[in-house]
């Protein structure tokens, strides 16, 4: 039984008084303990999909499809059940910890509030546990930090506090929304290593949203590539480099800098990234794709299995990548 099962999720958001669909037919599953990476450019809908799993859809948006957590549809949950689901079964790490932690409350209050109010722990028990988890995420002098305000901590420290807040209890699913994007490059890797380590030792499942392909491939078991509000490829993370099938995935891989052979100019993907709003009859990537043929502009490709990948591309089996 899968932990999370997203079935043809669609989200229509209100833009200038009209509802427009920005997430189209997104389906995937996450097994207990599995790490799933969702990658894509800005505006591809990866964050929106993640937030829908936490029950956070934009105001006045309309959601279609199902999101099942342990076979319970979260859109059908009563408000009590939803509060329980959020407070004890999932945890979320946000992109910018400074924006995601109430600036006028102390770190200690932030850490213990959930377990004291929602899970009925005693305050002293929660505080001693908070000291433990702060130590676990590598914060020195945790007793002192409990009395600090968020503005007194650096971004990397705050992100560690945010991670710590999710470790006080034992969630089944960790939702990480670009957890390292707002941090310094030097703290990024240590924070990511921390998340990965804690996730593996505790056996939590994770959905990790990022635009960093390398990072996703390094910490995840499976990768979903999203473009314009659709999933266009799903494949095991270890196959990302050698066996990805979609031209867009390949283009993304080519567009990132390499450690060796730096004489080459970086390859940019031509054109602008399409958003989920743009309406086309065919493949949404067709206008930027160098392999596009007539069928790509007229027919929407369905997801189909090729080798170890599932890919939505008409030409996925014609293109011989090793000759490129």
């Amino acid at each position: 039984m899968s932990l999370i099962k997203v079935d043809s999720l669609s989200i229509d958001v209100l833009i200038d008084g009209a509802h427009s669909r920005v997430i189209h037919e997104v389906s995937f599953e996450v097994e207990p303990g599995e790490a799933l990476g969702i990658v894509g450019e800005s505006g591809s809908g990866k964050s929106l999909t993640l937030r829908a799993i936490a029950g956070l859809t934009p105001p006045e948006s309309v959601m279609g499809g199902r999101i099942d957590f342990n076979d319970f549809d979260i859109t059908e949950m009563t408000s009590d059940r939803l509060l329980e689901y959020r407070s004890s079964q999932i945890a979320m790490i946000f992109q910018d910890p400074r924006a995601a932690i109430n600036p006028v409350r102390k770190i200690g209050d932030f850490l213990v509030e959930n377990v004291v109010t929602n899970l009925g722990w005693s305050r002293s028990q929660a505080r001693s546990r908070a000291v433990e988890v702060l130590t676990e995420v590598g914060i020195t002098n945790p007793e002192k930090q409990l009395r600090a305000f968020p503005s007194e901590l650096s971004g990397g420290m705050l992100q560690r506090v945010m991670i710590a807040s999710n470790l006080l209890y034992q969630p089944d699913l960790l939702l990480a929304d670009e957890p390292t994007t707002a941090l310094d490059v030097t703290t990024q890797s240590s924070v990511m290593a921390l998340i990965d380590d804690l996730r593996v030792t505790r056996g939590m499942a994770m959905i990790f949203v990022t635009h960093n392909l390398e990072l996703a491939a390094a910490v995840c078991d499976r990768i979903l590539v999203m473009y314009a509000g659709r999933i266009i490829e799903s494949l095991p993370a270890r196959n990302l480099h050698g066996h990805s099938r979609h031209p867009y995935t390949r283009a993304l891989l080519n567009a990132r800098p390499q450690a060796e052979g730096h004489e080459k100019r970086l390859v940019a993907i031509p054109g602008q990234p399409a958003s989920g709003l743009e309406w086309t009859t065919g493949c949404t990537y067709a206008s930027r794709c160098s392999f596009a043929q007539e069928i790509c502009r007229t027919d929407l490709p369905e997801m189909r299995k090729i080798g170890t990948s599932e890919v939505a591309c008409h030409r996925a089996d014609d293109i011989r990548w090793d000759k490129q």
């Binding site: 937030r51 936490a54 029950g55 956070l56 105001p59 006045e60 939803l82 509060l83 329980e84 689901y85 959020r86 407070s87 004890s88 999932i90 945890a91 979320m92 946000f94 992109q95 910018d96 400074r98 924006a99 995601a100 932690i101 109430n102 600036p103 006028v104 409350r105 509030e113 959930n114 109010t117 929602n118 305000f149 968020p150 503005s151 807040s165 939702l175």
Partner: protein, 285 residues
């Protein structure tokens, strides 16, 4: 502005707060503390009975023991000013309290629920703002009779919409912040997020607005009393004292009007200064 920048600005503000609040701010605090003291203890410290009439002393100027002289009925002016501080400040205080409570509630409900609730409340507020407060007061006084509670009620209805509109903007921005979403994901109930997290973050906006509003409230309650729609005789009140002194003004005895008017103006100006300085210190201009 991100919350991070705001936090930085707030902490930078607290370092410079003494400088930013300024001597003028502290002077205003002194003036208001004095008035507040008389508002509470005025009757106890007044040197004479403020309502004792002695027509023989009508319009007599300052004499030893009577610092400001006497009014048109021979009552001690200084004592009346001290005792009048109570009704002159209590009315505005109640007005500010109720209007802030109502305005904040409307703003938070609109910002939290969004959608049709927000649209309905915002439209209602826009309509209410178009309705003049003094006119509303006159209508209510006609129905319920002239008294301080009626004046307060009328002005509360007049003040609430403007405050609700101002605070709704801050509340909408604040509810859109990531930390509110983070708290939802942590599974907190709406009421807990609103009372424990949203309102403390809105507090600087609410207090700065309330203090500025207090200045206007003093003048408006004073104006209603001046028109005879607020505090009723024989209770002394600065607004009605300005009106009572008007006849003396024409006969060359301006002391009562000037003294009571000065108290009103000093109070209003002090509140305006403090409100503005606090907004600067808190970074919520």
């Amino acid at each position: 502005m991100s919350i991070g920048q705001l936090a930085l600005r707030r902490s930078a503000g607290s370092r410079k707060s003494a400088k930013k609040f300024g001597w003028l701010g502290w002077a205003a605090v002194c003036v208001l503390s004095t008035f507040a003291f008389f508002g509470v203890f005025g009757a106890a410290v007044a040197p004479h009975d403020p309502n004792k009439i002695d027509l023989a002393y009508a319009y007599v100027g300052p004499i030893p023991g009577h610092l400001l002289g006497f009014d048109e009925l021979g009552r001690d002016l200084f004592s009346r000013l001290l005792v009048g501080a109570q009704s002159s400040l209590l009315g505005p205080f109640m007005l500010v309290f109720f209007a802030t409570l109502a305005g904040t509630t409307l703003a938070v409900v609109a910002a939290w629920r969004r959608g049709w609730v927000d649209a309905l409340l915002s439209t209602g507020v826009d309509i209410a703002i178009a309705f003049p407060g003094i006119l509303l007061a006159i209508i209510l006084v006609t129905i319920f009779g002239a008294s301080l509670p009626v004046a307060v009620l009328a002005l509360t209805l007049a003040y609430t919409p403007g405050l609700a509109r101002l605070l709704r903007t801050s509340a909408t921005r604040e509810t859109g912040m990531e930390y509110i979403k983070a708290l939802k994901v942590l599974g907190f109930s709406d009421s807990r997020i609103i009372f424990r997290h949203l309102l403390p973050n809105l507090a600087p906006y609410i207090f700065a607005q309330a203090i500025v509003m207090f200045g206007y409230a003093v003048l408006d309650i004073g104006a209603l009393s001046f028109l005879g729609l607020g505090v009723q005789a024989p209770t002394s009140d600065w607004g009605s004292m300005v009106a009572a002194g008007a006849s003396g003004l024409l006969q060359g005895y301006p002391t009562q009007t000037i003294a009571a008017g000065s108290c009103l103006v000093l109070t209003a100006v002090s509140f305006a200064i403090i409100g503005e300085r606090l907004a600067r210190v808190w970074g919520v201009e």
